[in-house]
Symmetry: C2
Subunit: 241 residues, 2 copies
């Protein structure tokens, strides 16, 4: 592990709590219009459209499109289900940019500051540059560099997404550690030669769907992970920060 020079982070779910952030902002809009919804169901429904929308691009059926635009399209797709299809453009924009105002997990900001003293910290997210920059300001995430989909032109888990991010840093994939709370991301990164660190985010899908770190061995399936960590403080400890 001592050859690792840069840490590349998945962001949605790993660094920030998208479900809480989206639920918080859609509740503002729903309350304003006296519409009764379960804001967490809304967040889950919106997030469920995320992978299918990117898959069109990964499969080459559509040119590269930034996530803000996909989020707007997906929002308009699910809005009728929640009686939210008569919003103004300003209100739709407020909801799309809710993804720019997601709260970090309690350890995220401070944990990243510890890790930054020893490593290059990069975002390796499917979010676009403006989204990542605004979120970083909002939640005090002190990245060294915003990489990810818009910079490299590929959506994870395409191999190019990982390869091009590492080479933009002029590093070998073996010198880069992918940090994520999700097995599919870590799998795809390790297949390109990256080191992998799992971070446990038991509340990503809500407290009722919590799973214990003891269950992680089942979750990861047959993959080898270099590090399993409980949060960013634990990751910093394990990396000697």
């Amino acid at each position: 592990m001592f050859k690792v020079k840069a840490l590349l982070f998945d962001v949605f779910g790993t660094v920030v709590d998208w479900r809480t952030g989206i639920a918080r902002d859609v509740k503002i809009i729903a309350d304003k219009h006296n519409i009764s919804i379960n804001p967490y169901d809304f967040a889950d429904a919106w997030r469920a459209e995320y992978q299918p929308a990117m898959e069109e691009i990964r499969q080459g059926r559509r040119g590269f499109t930034i996530l803000d635009k996909l989020h707007l399209e997906n929002l308009k797709k699910i809005a009728p289900r929640f009686n939210l299809d008569n919003l103004s453009n300003e209100e739709y924009n407020f909801l799309v940019t809710a993804w720019h105002r997601l709260p970090g997990w309690p350890d995220s900001s401070e944990g990243l500051n510890k890790l930054k003293k020893k490593f290059i910290l990069a975002t390796q997210s499917n979010g676009n540059i403006a989204l990542m920059v605004n979120m970083a300001k909002y939640s005090s995430l002190n990245w060294d560099v915003i990489l990810g989909a818009e910079v490299v032109g590929h959506y994870k888990p395409e191999p190019e997404a990982y390869q091009k991010a590492c080479s933009a840093l002029n590093l070998k994939t073996t010198e880069c550690l992918m940090v994520a709370a999700h097995d599919d991301d870590l799998k795809a990164a390790s297949l390109q030669g990256m080191k992998t660190a799992y971070v446990h985010r038991p509340f990503e899908y809500g407290r009722e769907k919590l799973f214990d770190i003891a269950e992680v061995d089942d979750y990861k399936g047959d993959r080898y992970w270099d590090i399993v960590s409980a949060d960013f403080h634990d990751l910093a400890n394990q990396l000697g920060c």
Copy 2:
């Protein structure tokens, strides 16, 4: 000026002292080989190849090529003039990465930290991503985002270099302030609608070529600049940070 949300910085000369940094590192190599050179002449000669190399790409005679590669080619071009053409690959690499280890001007790191509290801080440099990230770590330059040539695929002063950097932040050019010590960069930025801040860096070309801030009116020619500042502390003051 109150609509400005992001500050985009020229880097070589404006944020870091390339001439001192390059002279420092070439002296190490020259001394090792008992070669007597004026290290500042070497730095000036290397820098003189910078614009012509990029011009090939701007004119479409060559595909986009990152600056690290252009620096290596330019180094090999000027090396014989300084009896430095028998270096090992490791020594050439040490010199190319001297551009990753340039010192900030005395006010740069602290001044950027002040400005960062109120604005998005972006690099808008012709340097590649790895160069900018390594330099930021080396000289404590806490950028929010690395933009510039490698991200947008265009070298300044091409109009697209400015337009695409602003739109990557999802901002209008009028919401972005170009910060530079060079008139040509500010001119090109203002033609795209960006606000402009001149920063006086009288020692960029050495102390013997110092020019006083009183001479700035001659230097800028017929362009209007929104701000004229003595350094980043002064810029922060003028922007209410």
